[in-house]
Symmetry: C2
Subunit: 359 residues, 2 copies
Amino acid sequence: MTLPHGEVQTPCFMPVGTQGTVRALSPNDLRAAGASLVLANTYHLHVRPGEDVVGRLGGLHRFMGWDRPLLTDSGGFQVFSLEGSRTVSDDGVEFQSHVDGSRRFLTPERAVEIQWALGADVAMAFDHVVPGGADEATARDALERTLRWLERGARRHAELKKGDGTQTLWPILQGGSHQALRLEALDRVLAIGPWTGLAVGGLSVGEPKAVMYETLEQLEPRLPPAVPRYLMGVGFPEDLVAAVARGVDLFDCVAPTRNGRNGTAYTADGPLNIRNAAHRDDPRPLDSTCDCETCTTFSRGYLRHLFAAEELLGLRLLSPHNVRYLIRLTAEMRAAIRSGDYERWTADWRRRYTQGETT
Amino acid sequence: MTLPHGEVQTPCFMPVGTQGTVRALSPNDLRAAGASLVLANTYHLHVRPGEDVVGRLGGLHRFMGWDRPLLTDSGGFQVFSLEGSRTVSDDGVEFQSHVDGSRRFLTPERAVEIQWALGADVAMAFDHVVPGGADEATARDALERTLRWLERGARRHAELKKGDGTQTLWPILQGGSHQALRLEALDRVLAIGPWTGLAVGGLSVGEPKAVMYETLEQLEPRLPPAVPRYLMGVGFPEDLVAAVARGVDLFDCVAPTRNGRNGTAYTADGPLNIRNAAHRDDPRPLDSTCDCETCTTFSRGYLRHLFAAEELLGLRLLSPHNVRYLIRLTAEMRAAIRSGDYERWTADWRRRYTQGETT
């Protein structure tokens, strides 16, 4: 996938830089982890520091010190999932800033304008997200609104792009847990297109995992083969492996950095909780198969000490390791796909990950 | 100054790695900042994770991932200044661990044995520290005890060193704010020697700054010229500049990392509080004269955003900048001393630091 700021190999895991920084990682850490595409949050950057400030400081790339591709989400997920009151109309969503309580109004046009000011390589269309358990009428209503919003957002984006802009806009497929709605969403979104990428949203929001797999399996044969598919907000190592088997190319999730801050490290032998007393005297690295700075420099014993002593260095050593783990995982999946071996590779990977010494 | 793990140019600022990590900095950050000597705390490492654990994990250098010189303090300052009950006898100090409340006993011999197990290049003798306002009788009593403890610690260190050890032990001069006691301390410490380094302790503990300067001025002509002088727990940029004029070679202080975590950055134009709203749109670096990664990559506006958004990256960008600032300051002082220009350099430095745009 070629984007204005560089090339992205798929499958690809995007670290999440919610507020214009991937928590506890510097841009150098991201480069060292092999990150090729980073996500930032339109909602968060809009409420603080504001897209005007980011624009005056040279745009999101310069602001963050990140010169490779960036993707911004539309804010839809945040305004529908964050705490606080909101009012949805066909025009848009009025919501309350979690920073200062001020009333804000986001429309499909504003979401596109904010992302244009931020200047990411890829912008996402503003969507209406419903919880995993939403009934069909609710999911239908949100889907219809998402489709109307998509047309408005795409129109505004095309206007902004008349100059020399290179940013592309991607739609988000909704439909909740209702497979017929998902398929209808796809047909109608493709009719509005063409698109350079397609996102599947509203999954991993409380529904059973089987629903996510079924949705992906249903969509897969109907998706345009050359257009990258982005499964939003996913996920854990096992989710990535399962979703790639179902045709997904792109992922984002806060789990590797959040888990890293909590002391959980992904390893080839399964997740490991570095706080456990068992690691106290252990001279081994977190993961002997990993090439990250944490694994090539520090022992489990030292990392456990950092967490026991509540030292900041602990957070910043586990978080980049977990990001590196997922990026290495995507590289392994790519190699397995190329060699036509994905199924056998998956079986081997899963056996070690679920039956390893750490689990 | 040549130590087992490398050469140290003086004047030298030692970043403080209290618990075996300089807060918010990785070993790579320390190397990038130009750190040549790092301090770790015997008291803290003894109570957690314990010198036995550090020893089993290969000693303090390997534990921390730091291959340049290390100095460990003796724990004297901590047991006399940390909260909690303690009982002082001539034998040693019984105190309560701040981690688990367990009763511990530190003697001059134990302090040396712990530091031997940690394996730093330089160990410090166990001393009895009194507050800045201690009367002469109290300071005399603590000084006599410190001298008796020095003899015992030196004897134990010599026994341990019979093999092939390269660690050296340095004494700490006490005497409170009483100049006659300080001079007596020096004479009696030198009589116990010879030493490869001498520390001045018990300053910067609440006494007026004039007392510190007077003490240094009195000691200076009587100190052996070839032996490095270490002023413990100091300090701020202006303290370093003033103390180097009075013959000091080595410093340690938590201020650069603690201030960095609070949003204060040292700059050529004086300290700057990055939280101030004035920095919101400012595209300039913290300090245009600085070559650190923070200053060459990020704007004040971005750094302010990180602190406003309580992002971890803010702490880890300001702390290494402040460490780099002090290390650059020592390099400038060294150059000024070599060119015989220290007084004029000091006047220029002070003018800009105290009258710069940020103050």
